[in-house]
């Protein structure tokens, strides 16, 4: 690892991977609580010749919608959204994601926020990119406890999209929908195939000679830190503080 690479934050590697995964998209939408995808989408606006439309679902200041929160779902239904992002408390080897519960739904052991738009957008957006910042056997499992949205569907079920990739702090998997199975595409600098195998709870295709994920080009990093980071700080203050060292703003109204 070079001195420059040592300076690169893991989140910055992920942002660069996502940036390549959304290449050529005309419209990238970003859901709740997705600072890494948002960073990649803002970068694509600055770097790519297509300058994709970018819409942040929960930030009317940062989207093009003028017909309410429903417009994301409507335009996905119309086929106008090319890329979207999901995480999951659990993600399994068949591409199923779980945003709801661990254990039985009626008597759960753990509860998360909920499915958000996943059970719809996972079907309707051609390029769904999964990301998970904890790469472990706890999060990447053989079989999710609860399918918030299924990775694949029987041929008679209307579906125009689904997962194409899974990005973690260790590696980048692609997803083969015909086999409902992930394939290891690259391992990030500082990590190894063995570490990925040890940390992943599901089986996946392992080609011979998995390459290292390239480090983000210096111009990408520079743009990210100089121009994208301040935009992120307004939307994801906690993330921007952690990754870019931008202090969180004081509350608008003091605790009384």
């Amino acid at each position: 690892m070079s001195a420059v690479e040592a300076d690169i934050k893991p989140e910055e590697v992920l942002i660069d991977v996502v940036l390549r995964l959304i290449a050529g998209a005309r419209h990238v939408a970003v859901g709740a609580n997705s600072p890494i995808p948002a960073a990649a989408a803002f970068l694509a606006q600055l770097l790519s010749p297509e300058a994709p439309n970018v819409s942040l679902q929960q930030s009317p200041e940062h989207n093009l919608w003028t017909d309410g929160g429903r417009e994301l779902f409507d335009s996905a239904g119309q086929g106008r959204i090319d890329a979207f992002f999901f995480s999951g408390a659990q993600i399994d080897g068949s591409g199923n994601i779980n945003l709801n519960v661990i254990g039985d739904h009626t008597h759960p052991k753990a509860r998360f926020a909920g499915a958000y738009g996943s059970a719809y957008l996972y079907f309707m957006v051609p390029r769904i990119i999964l990301f998970r910042l904890e790469h472990s056997r706890r999060t990447l499992v053989e079989r999710v406890d609860f399918i918030s949205a299924p990775g694949t569907s029987p041929p008679n079920v209307f579906r125009r999209g689904g997962p194409v990739a899974l990005v973690t702090p260790l590696c980048h998997f692609s997803f083969d929908k015909s086999r409902a199975r992930f394939r290891l595409e690259s391992v990030h600098p500082g990590h190894s195939v063995e570490e990925v195998l040890d940390s992943t709870g599901f089986a996946f295709d392992l080609p011979a000679g998995v390459p290292a994920t390239p480090a983000p080009p210096p111009e990408t990093l520079a743009l990210l830190r100089s121009r994208v980071a301040p935009r992120l700080a307004a939307i994801y203050p906690k993330f921007a503080e952690k990754v870019f060292g931008i202090p969180m703003p004081a509350g608008a109204v003091p605790m009384g």
Binding site: A32, Q58, P60, A149, F158, P237, G251, A252
Partner: protein, 271 residues
């Protein structure tokens, strides 16, 4: 009766057991009104969030006001999980109707159109379907072996939201937050808090009228400056992230939550 009222009077439309629909954080959440409802001790609400919620659902659930919660998600995004919501679900003290965002949009739009149900692609293969016996899969009569989900219309008794402006007739300007039109149309009654009162007719100017909900959908309006605090109000103020982080930490326990209510709900906040 005049449509502009004191907050508690405006909220009288929300009775115990009401089906109450509220918007997501980005659209304008009536937090001052929510605190007033908790002070009043409302009980047995069927709370519907269009489509997700954070502090509003969290406080109402934590304070014991909610019997049934229909939502796509309750949480604070990157700031953290919603502790009282989580605790209530784990303890089984509320009936949870887990949904997905566009399903709630579709069901409210069905009510807006006077339809008994809305349709939605997707969902099939999601375990949500197993939890929602009220959602039905039919074979699309225009296709062949093409299953599709139908959702019963949601007709709230009351919609409650926070907007920027109302005039004295009760017209309410909501700007780009078009979901609020659907909420007001779908609900039998609508109660709105606003940042400010407008001295004129919001319908008189075409540019403003285009984003104004006409008064005939609105039952009561109450003035509540900074009424979305500590959540955000587009163009006026952002969310008070530090307050929310402090809340999340405090509400990890029942007592901490009780202390929060004492401080921020029962003891009215000094402006």
């Amino acid at each position: 009766m005049a449509k502009i009222r004191e907050l508690d009077a405006a909220l009288s439309a929300i009775a115990d057991g009401s089906k109450l629909a509220v918007p997501a954080d980005y659209a304008g959440v009536a937090m001052e009104a929510t605190r007033a409802l908790i002070r009043r001790g409302v009980r047995g609400l069927h709370l519907v969030t269009l489509p997700a919620s954070s502090l509003q659902a969290e406080l109402l659930v934590g304070a014991g006001c909610v019997a049934t919660l229909e939502t796509s998600a309750v949480g604070f995004g990157e700031l953290g999980a919603a502790p009282r919501f989580t605790a209530a679900v784990l303890a089984g003290t509320i009936a949870l109707k887990d949904a997905t965002c566009p399903a709630i949009h579709s069901a409210l739009r069905a009510a807006e159109m006077g339809n008994p149900f809305g349709a939605l692609r997707g969902i099939i293969g999601s375990d949500l379907l197993k939890q929602r016996p009220d959602w039905k899969v039919i074979d699309n009569p225009f296709g062949e072996n093409d299953p599709i989900v139908l959702l019963p219309a949601i007709r709230p008794d009351v919609a409650l939201f926070h907007a920027r402006l109302a005039d004295r007739n009760g017209n309410v300007w909501v700007g780009r937050q078009r979901d609020l039109f659907t909420l007001a149309h779908a609900a039998e009654k609508s109660v709105v808090t606003v940042e400010a009162l407008h001295d004129g007719d919001l319908l008189a100017d075409e540019v403003i009228a285009a984003a104004t909900i006409p008064a005939f959908y609105i039952d009561a309006v109450a003035l509540a400056p900074r009424g979305a605090w500590p959540l955000k109000m587009l163009g006026l103020y952002g969310e008070d992230a530090q307050h929310l982080l402090d809340y999340i930490a405090l509400a990890a326990t029942e007592e901490g939550f009780a202390r929060y209510l004492d401080r921020h709900v029962h003891r009215r906040r000094a402006a």
